[in-house]
Every structure is written in structure tokens, then in C-alpha cells.
């Protein structure tokens, strides 16, 4: 297993480095000597901190990936976009209605969408961004919420949008509207909250806190497990 590591050339903001093939962009940058402050978050594909754009020589196409999840390729010319200014409306969710008017009131620029699909093409989560913006424009909050659910708010879409929409902020407004105003509330949950507030379980739990280890172990071992 003592093979020589194959090395590749990558260009970090135009500067060439030799790094081992097989590393992710993030680990390759660290191998090259970078210590991240910006551009690194969860390192696991969830937080959107490490959005990276790159091109390969001879190919005009702009490619994208999360630095923590994308392997280096020989000849990659890359940069991260760790921050992009974004318009964010402020609102009191409880006062809003889940309708087109709410979207337009907070993000009127949504109507400027050209349908160019640049946002969809740049999304590292492969979401159909243009389509969820289209749903927003129709006032279809449920569709907006479901289609945008896997959005990690990396901001690459907003960086590419000629209409200057911040798609991921429209999306989170849509999701919160759905979660609060469209999805039916859990009735059993409300009931249990009331019961607890009324003290229904106080005595039983107070009793449990007084038990010693042996008594607790007995109760624990005697639990029936829901199938």
C-alpha cells in the first residue's frame, strides 16, 4: 500500500499549488497551507459556508461545489465565495398570511425574475431554484417550501442572479410561512403541553427524581418497548 501519491495542480485564486489527488477542495487548501477563517463551517455539507466556483482550462463552463464535499481535479481554477451581500426583509411571522402578497411585500424583486436559470445551474444541492422562485411568484407557498427544503443557504444563487433576487431568503420566508400558517398544527402536542402546564406529571416525575439507582434500574428494565 506504499504507492506514491498522485499529485495534481490546482489554482487557488489564480495561484498554483501541487496537492494530492483524492483530497476534497477544503482539505487540499489546508494541505497547501491555508487555515480557514471564512469559507469553512460544518465540513459536512450542511451549512453552506464553503461554496466554491471553478473552471478548467479550455472549458468556458463555470462549475460549482461545496469545498468540503468536492474532490480536486487536475487544472481546477477555483475560488470560494464565503460571503455575498444579501437583501433580507424583517417580519413578524405570526402577523403574516401565507400568500403571494406576503412574498411581494417583503421581496418585490422576486417579480424581476428573467427565467434565466442561472440560479438552478449554480446550486450545489442541485435544487430547482428557478422553479421554486416561480412557485413563489404564483403564491404557491407549499411548493416553494417543499422544493427549497434542502437549501443550505450558501448564497451562490444570489451571486449569479441578474435580477438581484436573494433566492434563499425568499425560500426561508416561504418555508416558515408554510410551517406556521399552512401545515396543520399537531393537536396531540398542544394537548400534552396543556397537561404539563396543569401539572399532570409533576408528582410522578418528582417521585422519580427521588429514587435511587437500584429502583430506577428496576423500572428501566421493566419498560415495554413500543414496536
Amino acid at each position: 500500500m506504499a504507492e506514491e501519491k498522485e499529485m495534481v495542480s490546482i489554482y487557488i485564486m489564480g495561484k498554483q499549488y501541487q496537492v494530492p489527488y483524492g483530497l476534497t477542495i477544503m482539505k487540499a487548501m489546508e494541505y497547501a497551507g491555508y487555515r480557514f477563517i471564512r469559507g469553512c463551517g460544518c465540513r459536512g455539507g450542511f451549512c453552506g459556508a464553503c461554496g466554491t466556483v471553478y473552471r478548467k482550462p479550455g472549458d468556458f463552463r463555470l462549475k460549482v461545489g461545496l469545498a468540503c464535499q468536492t474532490m480536486v481535479e487536475d487544472g481546477m481554477h477555483l475560488t470560494q465565495i464565503p460571503f455575498y451581500p444579501a437583501n433580507k426583509a424583517t417580519y413578524r411571522l405570526e402577523e403574516l398570511t401565507p400568500a403571494l402578497s406576503t412574498i411581494l411585500q417583503h421581496y418585490p424583486e422576486t417579480t424581476r425574475c428573467l427565467g434565466c436559470n442561472a440560479c438552478t445551474r449554480i446550486c450545489p444541492q442541485e435544487l430547482e431554484v428557478m422553479h421554486y422562485i416561480a412557485a413563489a411568484q404564483r403564491g404557491d407557498i407549499e411548493k416553494l417550501a417543499n422544493m427549497s427544503f434542502d437549501c443550505i443557504m450558501c448564497g451562490l444563487c444570489a451571486s449569479r442572479c441578474p435580477a438581484e433576487i436573494v433566492q434563499y431568503n425568499v425560500a426561508i420566508l416561504g418555508r416558515r410561512l408554510y410551517g406556521r400558517h399552512i401545515a396543520p398544527r399537531a393537536a396531540h402536542l398542544a394537548k400534552r403541553v396543556e397537561e404539563i402546564a396543569a401539572g399532570k406529571f409533576d408528582e410522578e416525575i418528582a417521585g422519580l427524581t427521588q429514587l435511587d439507582r437500584t429502583e430506577l434500574q428496576k423500572l428501566y428494565d421493566a419498560r415495554d418497548i413500543e414496536a
Binding site: M1, P20, G22, T24, K27, E30, Y31, G33, Y34, R35, F36, I37, R38, G41, R43, G44, G45, F46, C47, T70, M71, K88, T90, Y91, L93, E126, F149, D150, M153, I172, R175, R176, Y178, G179, R180, A183, P184, R185, A186, A187, H188, L189, R192, V193, I196, A197, F201, E204, I205, A206, L208, T209, R213, Q217, Y220, D221, R223, D224, I225, E226
Partner: protein
Amino acid sequence: MYTPEMLEAIKIVEETRERRLKETFPRLKPEEKDQLLRAFHPDYMAGAMRPVKVGPNKGDKMPHEHVDLLESRSMLDPDTFSLNIDFDVDVLVIGGGGAGTSAALLAQEAGAKVLLATKLRHGDANTMMAEGGIQAADKENDSPAIHYLDVMGGGGFHNIPELVAALVKDAPLCIQWLESLGCMFSKFPDGTMNTIHGGGTSRKRMHFAHDYSGAEIMRTLRDEARNRGIQVIEFSPAVELILDESGQCAGAVLYNLETEQYLVVRAKTVIIATGGSGRLHIAGSPTTNHYGATADGLVMAYRAGAKLIFLDATQFHPTGVAFPEQIVGQLVTEKVRGLGAQLVNAAGEQFIYPLETRDAVSSAIIRECRERRKGVTTPSGMSGVWLDSPMIEIIHGKGTIEKELPAMFRQYKRFDINMAEQPILIYPTLHYQNGGILINDRAETAIPNLYVAGEASGGVHGRNRLMGNSLLDIIVFGRRAGKNAAERAKNVQLGKLSLAHVKRFHEELQKEGLGQKVAPVLLPDYRGKVS
């Protein structure tokens, strides 16, 4: 993409699948579990720990990686550092994850002037990556009392009773709070919450939002904090707590990572919500944790005189990615097992009930690879066992994985592995700090005005946390800390700001010949390495 050798190994798993679908592996008896942990859990490995020589926990054994930090000196020179106040607030929240953001929201609601200081971006925290779910006893067939038993048993009965009582009683209210903030929990058409089992649970009380449960909660809380105009300073971790001359907590010194300048915050109350310590790579293990998980809060609180508890109980998540190499250590949520996937060795056999508590499953996997030599070895030399994910499609129907585990499905697809058709290779990974700074059920420490919430605290989970109780912990105690701190701040009178406690700590270090290194470390250093 799997290598040809691994594809051959997968055939063995496929051959036994039909038989295994009807099999239930027997659960461990308490003595068996105890023996298994003692023989194979990393906490019991000889040479992994040493007693700390200074401070409130002097003499207690903890992992070297923690002791190294606790026996370090401050970034600041207490003799020369000038405490000119840059910010003056009622509540300073250190840490912008789920606990910190919950605390900030509740503190502000109670009328306090709040400052939230984060090390990286607001939301860069372990909360964002939590996948499986959040526990709460809100179904008819369940009750907080049953939840109490599950938590206690999972923790080895070491949990502090009043903390567990608070956790289980606040739980349904916390879910309702998140629901009202617009969190899209997975529900049935009539609004009933879709809930499943986790390791060690006796009722299906794990609420989730596909497998983005943590992200859904984090981004919702963050959006709400932004809407409410709570002041947030990013990329400015706290490096030292400030006390006043009478020993009350009085604020903190922040360090702007980008400009390398200090900011002095005077605060009537301080809430530490700095999260976990996975990036210390305890036992040399890969980790599921985010970049900033370096135990900063523990170090600062320790110097101020706070006691730590159960820091010698480290949680390894049984299923961390073992292949492909690029994402080794990343989390494969317990939900995969919750949906029916079995753990299978190289011979195609089960060897442990998949939903034992995490410490037991981790130990069993380590035993299977190390002692029984029935693990699979990857090209990079890592060992692992299979998690037979295709079983989920068979049990729940085709398309279940893509629907219920979109984040995981996508993660593997990026590396040309279809987890709906092929099993995945896993091995235990460093995941959670079971212990931390000791608190009471008001989230208070023994130091006046100092609160702690979330992973940085200790006592709630005993010596082993159950799945779904961390997302719960941060909301329950984040809210309690915020509310209580705001209330207390109304009556706090601060004296002269002081770093005398740091000076005293440095003197104690010097007596022991310690203090060569500086802590908190703030960020791990992977420069020049193939990590």
C-alpha cells in the same frame, strides 16, 4: 465509487439480506453491556486520560486533549490587558448555535439588551449538522415520566435528576415553540407529528424534518433572531471571561479573528453556549463536529472557577462514514438504523441489536473489527462494518431513502454510491461531549451571573446521551438560560472589572510547571496535513 474488492464484499451482504430481514438480534443484558463497554469503549482505553493538575477538578481524570487545554494559559496578559469597555449589555451570549440563539431570543423577549458573539458565522455550530431528530413525549402512548426513564437509563443513571426532569417536562413546549416559529417537522396530513425510535428509546418520540432536523431548527431560529434585531457579532470568539472584584461574572473579552483586535464586553449576565469539542480529535478519532468545536467555553469557565462533570465520558457515534475517504468521520444518522437498516460484518452476519445505546453499539463495532477481525478494510487502511441501507427500501418501499434521508442520499451520490441499492461502510466517530460545565435546572453555574446551555454543559445526559436529546437539550436549556439571565440582569450591580482570576490561574499553572500552551485554541490546525 466502491472498489472491485468492496463490490465483492457487498455480494456477501446481499446473500444474507433475505434471511436477516426476519431476524431480530437479541438485546444486551445489563452485565453484557457493562463488560462490552469496559473492554472496547475508547473511554476505557489505557493511557487515554490523565488527572488534571490545576483548577476546580484537580485530580480528576480526563482525556489528554481536554487536560492539555485546561492546563494552558490565557491569550491575554492579565497584568497588562486593559479592560476598556466596548459593549455594555444585560446578557452576553457566547456561541451562536441552537442553544445560544434560543437563549438570545428568550432574553430579548424578557426585555434584556442582548449581544450574541459567535466564533464563525451565526449558525455555524453542531446544531446545523444534527440529522436524526429531537425527542419529546407528546404522543398519547407516551409521557414525560417514560422519557425520564429512557434518559436516565441511557446515561447510566449518572444523570442529575433535576436536569432530566427539566428536560422531559419542557420538551413538548419546546417542540410547540419550534412549530410556531415555522419549523417544518415531518407530519401526517392531519398534523400529527411523524415520530420514530432512536437508540435507547422505549417510545417512538423522535421528531424530525427529513434528515435536516438540526439545519431546519438552526436556520429557523437564526432567521427569527435576525428579524428581532438581536445584535450579533460574528467571527469574534470569546477568549476569556471577565469577573468583577467580588467574583461575579461580568462579561468577556472577544477576539476578532479577522482584524486580530480585542473587544471588551461588560455584561450583567453571561451565557456560555460554545458547544462541543470534536475538533480536539479525542483518541485521535475523526469527528462529526463542525470546524469550531474546540471546547472554548470549558476553558474559560474553568479558569473562572466553574466545576466540570463527566468530561471523561466521550460519545462516539457508532456510524461515522468509513468510506469514501474524503468524508471519513462524517455523520450517518441513527435514523438509518431507526428505519430498519442492520449492522452487518464482513461475513454477512448481524452482531449487535442496532438500536442499543450509542456507547454499546460503538463498542460492539470496535470489537467486531479489532478482536473478531470481521470488519472490512478500505483502500486507505480504515476498518468498518456494513450498514445495510437497502433494507430500508425493502421495509418501507422504494424511494424511502431519497424521501426521508435526502441529505445522506445526496452525500453518497456525490461520490457515486447509491445507498438505496448498496450498503454503506461505517465505523465509530467522535461525536458528542457527554459532560461539561456543571449546571442546575436554571442553567446556572456556581459562579454568579454565569449560565451555560447546550453541549458545553454537563449533567443532563449523565455519561451517555441518547439520540434526539441534544437538539432537545439546547432548546430547553437555551430558553431557560436566556429567560433566567434576563431576569437576573435586572438586579445585578457590577463592580470593577477584573482579570485577577486569570492571574491566579497562571500562578497555579506556574507552580506545577504548566502553562506553556495557550487556550482556547479557537480553531484546529490542519495546515500541511493530509487530514
